[in-house]
């Protein structure tokens, strides 16, 4: 069920064109308001774009040049949201049976199918419960079973783990991994971990447009957009490719090996833990004079932020340096920690 989509929504500045190959899972990342939910609503048939077309496995979902619009119930696309949204007046089993029943299956068939799907998400014992009696994790499991029971051709997941306890999220993440294997799906997420564990490819949206896309590992290791770099926990240094590395727009020169043609836009990513902080100018390349903006404790390290990049150092080191907001310091980055790539 290969998906092709091209759609615009002028009011929201949304203009996206993307493909998902059969059996692949696409992660959609992006800041709030980037258009992630708009994308899912358009695909599910809940929001009509101004223009565009989409088809799934050869069947047209909509084609606004000809005015064709397939309503949500005829698309075979299930949507699983952050909240489980189980129908409160039905039992868990009836919730799961709802899809097959709506597709015209007999009551007995629909119930049998619901039992199977509940078992598949390890919620067989919850069938008789009302949604109000379920915990968040249990409800989300039932919601997964309910979304899968109609055997959708495309599964849309809208931050499916965001509303859950940290304690139950790992179990469900594992379950999603099983569920998504071999299935055509789109997962909207804030969590880089979800993208890594669940998705084959990643699309990053920013202000309604795709700002970067590619294989998950590739995009996360070599981000081109500050949002992606932030998600991946990397410093992003952007500029123009030079013979020795890249030159940033403020004239800062970054030295390191890499790819790309001279003079072309380039980027380099650097781990905050690879950057060290000194009060005096260190010897060698990649020494950047910065001003400390703020300090943030992060587990066993302290993140030192400046306007352009961040460094992670030990609390002891931070104390020895006497760091505080407004203090001018030097950030230095070993050359072999810098990989330059085209942007």
């Amino acid at each position: 069920m290969t998906l092709h989509l091209q759609a615009t929504v002028a009011e929201r500045g949304f203009d996206v064109s993307l493909d998902v190959a059969e059996g692949q899972t696409l992660a959609v990342l992006g800041p709030n308001g980037a258009g992630k939910s708009t994308l899912l609503s358009i695909l599910a048939g809940l929001l009509r774009p101004d223009s565009g077309r989409a088809d799934l496995g050869g069947d047209s979902l909509f084609d606004l040049t000809s005015g064709h619009w397939s309503p949500p119930h005829r698309r075979g696309i299930s949507l699983l949201a952050q909240e489980a949204l189980l129908f409160p007046h039905l039992t868990a089993l009836e919730n799961v049976a709802f899809g097959p029943r709506s597709a015209g299956r007999s009551r007995a068939e629909a119930r049998a199918s619901a039992h199977r799907w509940l078992a598949a998400v390890e919620a067989a014992e919850l069938g008789a419960s009302r949604p109000a009696q379920l915990s968040g994790g249990q409800a989300q499991r039932v919601a997964i079973a309910r979304a899968l029971a109609p055997e959708p051709r495309l599964l849309l997941l809208d931050e499916p783990l965001a509303a859950l306890d940290v304690a139950v999220a790992p179990t469900l993440r594992r379950m999603f991994r099983t569920v998504l294997a071999g299935r055509t799906a789109i997962v909207v997420t804030h969590e880089v971990l979800d993208a890594l564990t669940l998705a084959d490819r990643v699309v990053v949206l920013g202000e309604g447009k795709i700002v970067e896309q590619g294989a998950t590992a590739e995009v996360l290791q070599r981000p081109r957009h500050p949002f992606t770099a932030g998600l991946a926990g990397l410093n992003l240094l952007t500029g123009v490719r030079t013979a020795t590395g890249l030159r940033m727009s403020d004239g800062t020169v970054v030295t390191g090996a890499g790819t790309g043609t001279l003079g072309a836009p380039a980027a380099a990513a650097a781990r905050p833990s690879a950057i060290s902080v000194q009060l005096d100018r260190p010897a060698g390349a990649n020494a950047f004079p910065v001003t400390v903006q703020d300090l943030e404790p992060r587990g066993d390290s302290v993140r030192v932020r400046s306007a352009s990049m961040s460094a992670d150092i030990s609390p002891g080191r931070a104390a020895v340096l006497g760091l505080g907001p407004g203090l001018p310091v030097w950030f230095s980055l070993p050359e072999d920690e810098v990989a330059v790539y085209p942007r």
């Binding site: 599910a44 048939g45 809940l46 309503p71 949500p72 119930h73 005829r74 698309r75 075979g76 696309i77 299930s78 949507l79 949201a81 949204l85 129908f87 409160p88 007046h89 709802f98 899809g99 709506s102 597709a103 009302r130 109000a132 009696q133 309910r146 979304a147 029971a149 109609p150």
Partner: protein, 268 residues
């Protein structure tokens, strides 16, 4: 009452509220003191009383059914769509709520009376509505419909469209979504709206008298019978009034009881 809850009400508010409650309660108590208990059973089981009571129950049930039949789609349309002139439509739909019932009766005569807009062509077909039991049901429906629309529209709005959207993506057609999701979710409001409509229909007087007249067994409902008896047999009027008060109390009690109970089922 929850003992730990802080109400923070000044005492004078409580005092004024008690006076208000007494104002409502006192006339009812006074009426009960006037009841001729010795002849009560005979008074309320006289042929004309039983006729009136049965007619009232029959017509009120029919009117309630019509209110549900037309009110549910109206409430859905008002809550879920936007169309030009929607505010005007809502105002007109709710108008019978504040209109003196006599005026409703006159309007109904103008529409369905023998010389009325629709009444005249119907008359030509041999169908006469005015001064028939059908007219009673029409009058009751006219005044009771806003109660159902009003309480249901609010509930539909409050329920939101999120569950319905999920149901649609699971493959449910719009009619299935309405039947299996929307209506069950607003069932408490639908029930209380229907009960209110029934109560309003049961108490209908002005529009019925104007549009349907007062013919025993045909259009003379309980309120009309009570008004008539008051002239000739005040004891019977009081006894029948008590019957209507009890029926109304049961109806209101049922609404108050079902509403929170159903809510608890969803949140327990």
């Amino acid at each position: 009452m929850d003992r730990t809850a802080f109400s923070g009400l000044p005492r004078w508010v409580i005092a004024v509220a008690i006076v208000g409650a007494a104002f409502v309660l006192l006339p009812l108590v006074a009426m009960v003191t006037r009841v001729n208990w010795g002849g009560f059973v005979a008074l309320v089981t006289s042929a004309s009383s039983v006729d009136a009571l049965l007619l009232s129950l029959r017509t009120s049930l029919a009117a309630t059914a019509l209110c549900v039949l037309f009110g549910v789609p109206m409430a859905l349309l008002l809550a879920r769509t936007t169309f030009p002139g929607q505010r005007v439509v809502r105002t007109i739909v709710l108008l019978p709520l504040v209109l003196p019932p006599v005026i409703g009766g006159i309007a109904l005569l103008a529409a369905f009376g023998r010389q009325g807009l629709i009444g005249r062509p119907l008359e030509a077909l041999g169908l006469s509505i005015a001064f028939s039991t059908v007219a009673v049901v029409i009058a009751q429906t006219f005044v009771a419909l806003p109660f159902l629309v009003l309480s249901l529209e609010g509930a539909i709005r409050l329920a939101g469209t999120r569950y319905e959207a999920v149901a649609a993506t699971l493959g449910a057609r719009p009619s299935t979504v309405l039947r299996r999701i929307t209506l069950p979710l607003v069932l408490p409001a639908l029930l209380s709206g229907a009960v209110l409509s029934f109560a309003r229909a049961l108490g209908e007087f002005g529009a019925t008298l104007t549009f349907a007249g007062s013919l025993q067994g045909v259009t003379r409902t309980l309120p009309l019978e009570i008004y008539l008896q008051r002239e000739t047999d005040p004891d019977a009027a009081v006894a029948l009034s008590l019957v209507l008060v009890v029926v109304s109390l049961v109806v209101v009690g049922l609404t108050l009881r079902t509403a929170p109970a159903t809510r608890a089922r969803f949140t327990a």
